[in-house]
């Protein structure tokens, strides 16, 4: 399946994957099967960084880190469907490494706004696994409003001076480089006047407070005080960053939709296995019709969610901005609701064991919970769609 074909109108119902896509999917699945069992994941989580450098190197080796970047800049020229396949497999395994932050979020900003020199300098390092990025956009007061930016970048001789604070920056703690949004003009909620900057994460004036999210993934609060940037730090046009931020968030929605589908698949599989093996009253609990029907409703939710993850992959490069935005908001709502239904029922159908830290299902539960509250939650996107009802 080639996402771009949809845009060019050459197929409508061809959901078959290409040979290359199948190979990609198989190799990623093999990789996580070999190195990302729930037990091994526990080991990765216990690393000081909260994820595995060894796994990061394997992703580089497999070509996953350079996947969506253009070949001319040292990437592999993959598309949204390829990213979808990777994220779905990562969702099934609850992968902890900063793939979303580096390749999907910062990567999209770099691809869409970076000039040739910036891409040529950074993409090979990203692809090789030697450079990790984070997308530092959200601020504490902003909730899900993407234009609510107070951080400022003031022009100075030969560059810029950065001041402000960024909040809940996914994998911002361990990143080598940050893509920071800041106001170069305009007022708090103006869409215009937001600019993006490439910032060395270890520069003077940057203070990072690292922590773990509820799902074990790493994040950071980042304070920026008088951070000095050169003129070449500007990513894209001065004042024109908002459109890029929207595209980054859309790419994030599409990628995490696929990841949530992977997580839902895993929860569904664990639950079915449990229903078949757990005995009470002398028979498997899955003999009970109430539980059978619930499991069927989980299956329906999962498949409806999968349909939307496919829609997301096909729409994320759609040139018509309004249509793209509307479809991705639809995806965020539908996948969020599906994931909530599947995860809550997965815990419920497991009973007590589903509540424990030592069992996998609760970890999936928390991953989809965090996903739902990233890039705008269900209520946020439903309100947005409601406002646009014609």
């Amino acid at each position: 399946m080639r996402g771009n074909d949809v845009l060019q109108g050459t197929f409508v119902v061809d959901f078959d994957f290409t040979e290359e896509q199948r190979l990609l999917r198989d190799s990623v699945e093999r990789l996580v099967a070999d190195h990302y069992s729930f037990e091994k994941r526990r080991g990765h989580l216990a690393e000081p960084a909260g994820w595995s450098a060894e796994m990061w190197a394997r992703y580089a080796e497999l070509g996953l880190l350079g996947l969506p970047f253009a070949e001319e800049h040292g990437g592999f020229g993959g598309g949204p469907i390829d990213v979808m396949l990777v994220m779905e497999a990562f969702g099934r395994a609850l992968v902890l490494e900063p793939y979303l932050a580096t390749v999907v979020l910062a990567g999209t900003a770099l691809r869409l706004a970076g000039n040739a020199a910036q891409q040529a300098a950074l993409v090979p390092q990203i692809a090789a696994g030697t450079l990790r990025l984070a997308f530092a956009h959200g601020e504490r007061q902003a909730r899900y409003d993407l234009s609510d930016v107070l951080t400022t970048a003031t022009p100075k001789a030969g560059g810029w001076l950065l001041d402000g604070a960024k909040s809940v920056v996914a994998h911002g703690d361990g990143a080598d480089m940050l893509i920071v949004s800041a106001r170069t003009a305009g007022e708090r909620n103006d869409r215009g006047g937001i600019s993006l900057f490439l910032v060395d994460a270890n520069a003077n004036g940057i203070a990072r407070r690292a922590y773990a999210m509820r799902d074990g993934m790493r994040a950071a609060e980042i304070a920026l005080s008088g951070v000095e940037l050169g003129a070449d730090a500007l990513l894209g046009e001065a004042g024109g960053g908002f459109a890029v931020v929207e595209r980054v968030v859309e790419a994030g929605i599409a990628a995490t939709a696929a990841e949530a589908v992977g997580a839902m698949e895993a929860m569904q599989a664990l639950t079915l296995e449990y229903l078949k093996t757990r005995q009470q009253f002398g028979r498997p609990i899955g003999d009970n019709q109430a539980l059978q029907h619930r499991a069927t409703e989980m299956f329906v939710a999962l498949e409806q969610g999968r349909s939307l993850a496919l829609l997301a992959a096909m729409m994320v490069e759609e040139p018509d901005a309004e249509e793209r935005a509307r479809n991705l908001a639809t995806v965020k709502v539908g996948v969020g609701q599906a994931a909530r239904f599947v995860s809550q029922n997965a815990v419920q159908l497991h009973g007590g064991i589903g509540m424990t830290e030592e069992y996998a299902v609760g970890h999936y539960f928390r991953r989809v919970m965090v996903i739902e509250h990233t890039f705008g939650d269900t209520a946020h996107h439903l309100s947005r769609l409601a406002r646009e009802v014609a």
């Binding site: 959901f15 059978q292 299956f299 409806q304 829609l311 639809t330 539908g334 439903l382 769609l385």
Partner: protein
């Protein structure tokens, strides 16, 4: 459409849309826009217009008078008909009996019945359910005893839609009461509704209309030549019929039509001093339904895609189409009713039929939206209840 069609498919959609616009009789179109039920004469008139164009038997191959369309074209056609809105072709003739005849019928049966079914010269009904055989269809008892070149049929069918308007009935009957398994003793018969010994009794449904019936068979003589497929092989035919053309079961176009209907009327209907369409809660409800519908639309495309790739085994996703499709159809008819508010509650449709001179009790669309809501409570019951569907999925798909 948000998912792009190929240029050919777009051309096809425009062709269908244009044809409906140019050929749907104005009076029928107006009744449909108001949400009035389709009466038999209207449907006969419209289906014959479609048949003249070669489209009435939209799911049949060319050889038997159909257009030989792809699954995608069939989906587009159905959706255009449903959203226009125009009457849908008689499902008993086109989606149920037609494919059965094409698959299992003798040449004589095919040439006698197929053209007449397509043109609605014969109106068919389905004699499957019985008082003791609903979800457990194979428990049916209506007996057909062989006597020379005839079967003698005795028993009772129930929930027989449009039996009172039908010329023929395709029936499941028990031809071997001693078969080891109850599924093994069943045959599939075509019964002329004019045959002596048939009595039809109306069942008025909660929407106030006469759509359903009980049908009694008292020594009804049916020629053996009217049996489809072998004796005692009727269950195979029934399974084929019930599993055929499952992708149409989502009825996405119909749900879209109900949403469009609700939106249109919500511009006129006022709530708290302003148009209902401006109410944030109402808009949120629509946004939610459109989200669920979009997802189902993609699910339907996945089913079509798998069909196109030639995967012949029963696709578990058709269960999603049935379960989600009926839930959404019911939720959208509920939405359309709620737009009418108190004016949706008066039941004065009979006066419409009688062309009464009394002033109208609220808008016609409002009382009809309620009728449609009541009528479609059956959507999660007919063709197998959603609960039975969940039983099937949990065993066949989930392995529970």
């Amino acid at each position: 459409m948000d998912l792009r069609f190929t240029p050919d498919e777009l051309k096809f959609r425009d062709e269908v849309r244009g044809f409906i616009r140019d050929h749907l009789p104005e009076d029928i179109g107006e009744r449909m826009r108001q949400g009035r039920p389709t009466e038999k004469p209207d449907l006969v008139r419209w289906q014959r217009i479609l048949n003249k164009q070669g489209w009435a038997a939209y799911s049949w191959p060319r050889e038997w008078g159909g257009p030989g369309w792809s699954a995608v074209q069939r989906m587009i056609f159905l959706e255009e008909i449903q959203t226009a809105p125009a009457p849908e072709v008689n499902p008993f003739n086109i989606t149920m009996l037609g494919p059965v005849l094409i698959q299992f019928g003798s040449d004589a049966q095919k040439s006698r019945f197929l053209p007449r079914a397509a043109n609605l010269d014969d109106w068919w009904c389905q004699g499957f359910s019985e008082p003791g055989a609903g979800s457990d269809l194979a428990a049916l008892k209506t007996a057909a005893r062989r006597e020379g070149e005839d079967y003698i049929v005795n028993g009772q069918k129930i929930w027989t839609s449009t039996a009172h308007e039908a010329d023929w009935c395709f029936c499941l009957v028990r031809t071997d009461p001693h078969a080891a398994k109850k599924q093994q003793g069943i045959s599939f018969l075509l019964i002329d509704m004019q045959t002596p010994g048939i009595t039809i009794r109306p069942i008025i449904s909660i929407d106030g209309t006469h759509h359903l019936n009980e049908v009694f068979f008292d020594d009804v003589r049916v020629p053996v030549a009217m049996r489809i497929h072998d004796e005692n092989k009727g269950w195979d035919v029934a399974k084929f019929l019930l599993g055929n053309e499952r992708s149409g079961i989502a009825r996405i176009g119909k749900s879209k039509e109900r949403i469009n209907f609700a939106k249109r009327e919500a511009h006129e209907m006022r709530a708290d001093g302003r148009p209902l369409i401006e109410d944030p809660e109402f808009r949120r409800r629509i946004a939610q339904l459109e989200t669920d519908l979009k997802s189902l639309e993609i699910t339907q495309l996945r089913v079509l895609s798998a069909q196109k790739a030639g995967e012949s085994k029963q696709d578990p996703l058709t269960a999603v189409l049935k379960l989600k499709g009926t839930e959404l159809l019911q939720a959208t008819t509920e939405l359309a009713m709620d737009v009418g508010g108190p004016l949706a509650m008066p039941d004065w449709a009979d006066e419409l039929e009688a062309l009464s001179n009394e002033p109208e009790v609220g808008p016609v669309w409002a009382t009809e939206a309620t009728r449609s809501y009541l009528f479609l409570r059956a959507a999660s019951i007919y063709g197998g209840t959603n609960e039975i569907m969940k039983n099937i999925v949990s065993k066949a798909v989930l392995g529970l």
